[in-house]
């Protein structure tokens, strides 16, 4: 156990240089963006003097190193600056929007895992059967249909034609009141408040975008589960387990599935980080007030504080995610903790 704790400690210390690097890179990147934020915010009627005033006010007239030191100092105290376009502190914006994205992504992944993993396992245990073909079709469809397309098709069918789904305009229909902010996840907050009407309203809004993302993330997960299960099932220890007369359930789940889980978890981690950053299209289609659309809007108007804040928040999230995946790995596979010592 001490070995495992020191492994965890080691992994956390590994994350520190990564975060430092991200702070530097995000700072330099936003400075390298084309366009001058001072000119942009001075407006159309600005003259040389007002632009210069704004530049001084933003601290953009100082040398880069000084700007960086100021930025780094602010980051240390938890101040990510103010967004130029929303006028709000970036930290507050992120705190509002990150939960929206996380709620969408996590729901989508939960949905896709609950379909992809059983599907992959079934396909692997019955290669060449109808389930296997269904798995192949779904995987191909999942990777070949872009999310904005599936999103629009789902809206067309379920909102426009059938009228089952609510209008795709954000996280909650205007007839509901936002639940009190606890976690920022509407489903959880509404449940805490005991407001089940709002809970159902939030869920209704969530179904279509989550399905869109789930269809997209299903493909790599199902494919990896199938491949990992197939290779686990053909290994020697499965033969031993069968020769010892263990029941098929025991062989499948305790022996094969736990071994197959390792590559699946790696894929899940990759899919998660990819989806969180790349679901801008889904957020746009469903007018979802998430972090992806926030970052794109900020980028378009050279809102450097917002962009820096976004990059930093994502980096921290990825580091945390990788840590969780590594730790899950050491929990499942006893061989790992020893190799890193």
């Amino acid at each position: 156990m001490a070995g495992r704790l020191s492994t965890i400690g080691l992994r956390i210390t590994h994350a520190i240089p990564v975060i430092l690097g991200v702070v530097v890179v995000s700072f330099l990147l936003t400075r390298a963006l084309p366009g001058d934020p001072a000119v942009y915010f001075a407006g159309a009627a600005a003259n040389e003097q007002s632009i210069a005033e704004i530049r001084t006010a933003l601290g953009l007239d100082k040398p880069l190193t000084e700007q960086f030191l100021v930025y780094a100092g602010d980051v240390l105290t938890g101040d990510l600056g103010n967004s130029l376009s929303t006028g709000q502190p970036v930290l507050e914006d992120l705190a509002n929007r990150l939960p929206a994205s996380l709620e969408l992504t996590l729901t989508a992944l939960l949905l896709s895992c609950s379909i992809a993993i059983p599907l992959g396992v079934l396909a692997a245990t019955r290669p060449g059967s109808a389930v296997d073909h269904l798995c192949r079709v779904l995987v191909t469809a999942g990777v070949s249909l872009p999310t904005f397309f599936t999103g629009i098709v789902l809206i067309y069918v379920f909102y426009y034609l059938l009228g089952i789904a609510p209008s795709p305009l954000g996280r909650l229909d205007f007839i509901y009141i936002e639940p009190d902010h606890v976690t920022g996840f509407y489903l959880i907050d509404a449940a805490i408040a005991g407001d089940w009407e709002t809970w159902i309203g939030a869920l209704k809004q969530l179904v279509l975008p989550a399905t869109t993302l789930a269809l997209f993330t299903l493909a790599p997960l199902a494919r990896m589960t199938r491949a990992a299960m197939l290779s686990a099932l053909s290994s020697d220890y499965i033969r031993t387990a069968r020769a010892a007369g263990l029941t098929e359930d025991k062989v499948l789940f305790t022996y094969a599935f736990r071994n197959a889980l390792l590559p699946v978890i790696t894929t899940l981690g990759m899919v998660f980080s990819f989806t969180l950053g790349a679901n801008v299209l889904v957020e746009k289609v469903f007018a979802w007030p998430g972090i992806g659309s926030y970052a794109v809007e900020a980028l378009v108007v050279s809102d450097y504080a917002a962009v820096q804040g976004f990059v930093l928040a994502m980096a921290l999230l990825f580091v945390a995610l990788n840590l969780v995946i590594d730790l899950t790995y050491t929990l499942i596979d006893p061989r790992i903790g020893f190799e890193t010592k």
């Binding site: 290669p127 290994s235 020697d236 220890y237 033969r239 031993t240 387990a241 069968r242 020769a243 010892a244 007369g245 263990l246 029941t247 098929e248 025991k250 305790t254 022996y255 736990r258 071994n259 499942i332 596979d333 006893p334 061989r335 010592k341």
Partner: protein, 550 residues
């Protein structure tokens, strides 16, 4: 009445090239308390027979005919749920490659508990105690601590004991051991086989031992069935098989099994035996190793893999380097072929110290061509996308300075020299058989006319009849080309056939060395005696065929 009876069993596999009959009408009986050996080379259907018996064939395999009966139960037609009850409780199996045969991420104790609880031999409350008892039954010391170990923390021999414990946990009446000692060291092999045979006798069980090693089967089995191409060609007592083999194939196998007193030519079928080549007397020193030390940085401080060894190889001499895994023989050969650097010591080759040139620069050294190596695994040591011609041509292109045209001629010449039919030169490794790949490996090593060849267990993965041919090829090449060999092996019988001088290593040190005959006949070190005693001793042949050939 026999415990198990197999009648006219036929198994076929669906493959892309149509159905392949792996077993074609095998009939065998195992009596209560009997140990039956099934011996055959790869592809003989010996393992498939046992998998069919356990109904554990791959999904493309099918029993197409015959009857399997175990204690009155028809194994061919009984329901799968009944079959699952029989497996592990009545019939158990142990496998080769024990580490892979255990679930890598489950504690070995839990794996044994799974079996015990499956067959209601233990309850949740006493499973742990019963599992530890099962571990103690296979004579694992400190079973309590081993209970919580994972397979990767245990040695190969220990893993095989766990697999045996797992197979015997529920007191089955029949044990099937499929190549139980392949890949294990020779002393471990002896320990494992002794353990299996003792436990079988103790519990009055029957067993089927499947092996490619006729000598091993002869030593441990009451009766042997020899299989070839899916059929049993001969069956009988070990002594009788060796003394008077009735089938030509049995004769060939008996001949090819290395044993005390055999000569390398006597391994071959009688019609192929030619006079042994005359070897020139080795005199001048070629290679001299002085105080060679290799230290690795291990997890808990430095580990000395080679602890200051010294020896010499004369021109044209063949020296055997013998030892078990971890004795430092592979490290030594890697240093001598200059793929690794020694920590200290000298390697005098024709009087020059090779250790002065770092391994990473040696590839460009003009002396690179003088020392070559034949690797253990013929399959893994080739680029799978290179033809045999390409593989053999590679060292020529880099080291010989021959023109393209001359190189092709040389490759053809080499193919003739190692007995590889020229049309096979354009095949890829996966299109060649094990023996053909071994020939390509040898051709590649001798392509640049080396003076010194390191052979790292070149026949370890080959069937005995192919091994016999390759060993003879090596003897002929040595006579023809005057190359010196360092033959690295764990098989003393093979070393005796090929070497004039033997070095026995243990824990990075040389424990004994001397002329091959002297070391084999009158070993002075207890470890050498242990190694010799561990090697299976096949029964004597009817006629001393070796004297006729010499």
């Amino acid at each position: 009445m026999s415990l198990l009876s197999i009648k006219d069993l036929k198994v076929s596999f669906k493959t892309r090239r149509g159905d392949v009959d792996a077993v074609r009408g095998v009939s065998l009986d195992v009596a209560k308390g009997e140990v039956l050996g099934i011996v055959g080379e790869s592809g003989s259907g010996k393992s498939v027979t046992s998998y069919a018996l356990m109904r554990l064939l791959e999904s493309n395999g099918r029993v197409t005919g015959g009857a399997l009966s175990y204690g009155g139960i028809d194994l061919g037609t009984v329901k799968e749920s009944v079959m699952r009850d029989l497996r592990g409780r009545e019939i158990s199996m142990i496998f080769q490659n024990p580490r892979a045969a255990l679930n890598p991420i489950r504690k070995v104790g839990h794996q044994i508990e799974d079996v015990l609880r499956r067959h209601s031999r233990a309850t949740r409350s006493n499973a742990r105690a019963e599992a530890i008892k099962a571990l103690e039954a296979v004579r694992i010391r400190n079973a309590e601590a081993r209970y919580s170990a994972y397979p990767f923390e245990l040695s190969g021999g220990m893993c095989q004991r766990i697999v045996i414990a797992l197979a015997l946990a529920c007191d089955p009446k029949l044990l099937i051991a499929d190549e139980p000692t392949t890949g294990l060291d020779i002393t471990t092999q002896k320990a494992v086989m002794d353990l299996i045979v003792d436990l079988i006798a103790e519990r009055g069980m029957s067993a089927i031992v499947i092996t490619h090693d006729l000598g091993l089967a002869a030593q441990y089995c009451d009766r042997i069935a020899v299989m070839k191409d899916g059929e049993v060609v001969e069956e009988g007592q070990a002594e009788r098989l060796f003394a008077a083999p009735r089938h030509a194939y049995t004769r060939k196998l008996v001949d090819a099994t290395p044993r005390a007193g055999a000569s390398v030519r006597s391994l071959l079928p009688s019609e192929l035996r030619t006079a042994a080549p005359v070897l020139a007397k080795a005199t001048a020193p070629l290679l001299e190793v002085r105080d060679l030390v290799k230290t690795y940085q291990g997890k808990s401080g430095p580990v000395q893999a080679v602890k200051g060894i010294s020896f010499a190889v004369k021109k044209g001499q063949s020296v055997g380097l013998v030892g078990e895994s971890g004795c430092g023989k592979s490290t030594t050969s890697a240093i001598l072929v200059r793929l690794a650097d020694p920590t200290s010591g000298e390697i005098l080759f024709n009087g020059e110290d090779l250790a002065k040139t770092p391994a990473k620069d040696f590839a460009r050294d003009p002396r690179r061509a003088r020392i070559q190596m034949v690797f253990q695994d013929a399959t893994d040591s080739f680029n799978p996308r290179h033809t045999a011609r390409h593989s053999i041509g590679e060292p020529l292109a880099r080291l010989s300075g021959l023109s393209r045209k001359k190189r092709q001629d040389r490759i053809d010449e080499l193919a003739d020299l190692v007995g590889l039919p020229r049309p096979l030169l354009d095949r890829f490794p996966h299109q060649l058989s094990g023996g053909q790949k071994a020939r390509v490996g040898i051709a590649r090593a001798i392509a640049v006319d080396p003076e010194f060849l390191i052979l790292d267990e070149p026949t370890a993965a080959l069937d005995v009849s192919i091994q016999a041919i390759v060993l003879n090829l090596l003897v002929d090449l040595r006579a023809k080309l005057g190359i010196s060999y360092l033959f690295v092996s764990h098989d003393l019988h093979v070393v005796r056939l090929l070497c004039d001088h033997v070095i026995v290593m243990r824990d990075g040190e040389i424990v004994e060395e001397g002329p091959a005959d002297r070391v084999m006949e009158a070993p002075t070190h207890p470890y050498t005696r242990e190694l010799l005693a561990a090697a299976p001793t096949p029964p004597a042949l009817a006629e001393p065929t070796f004297s006729a050939a010499e």
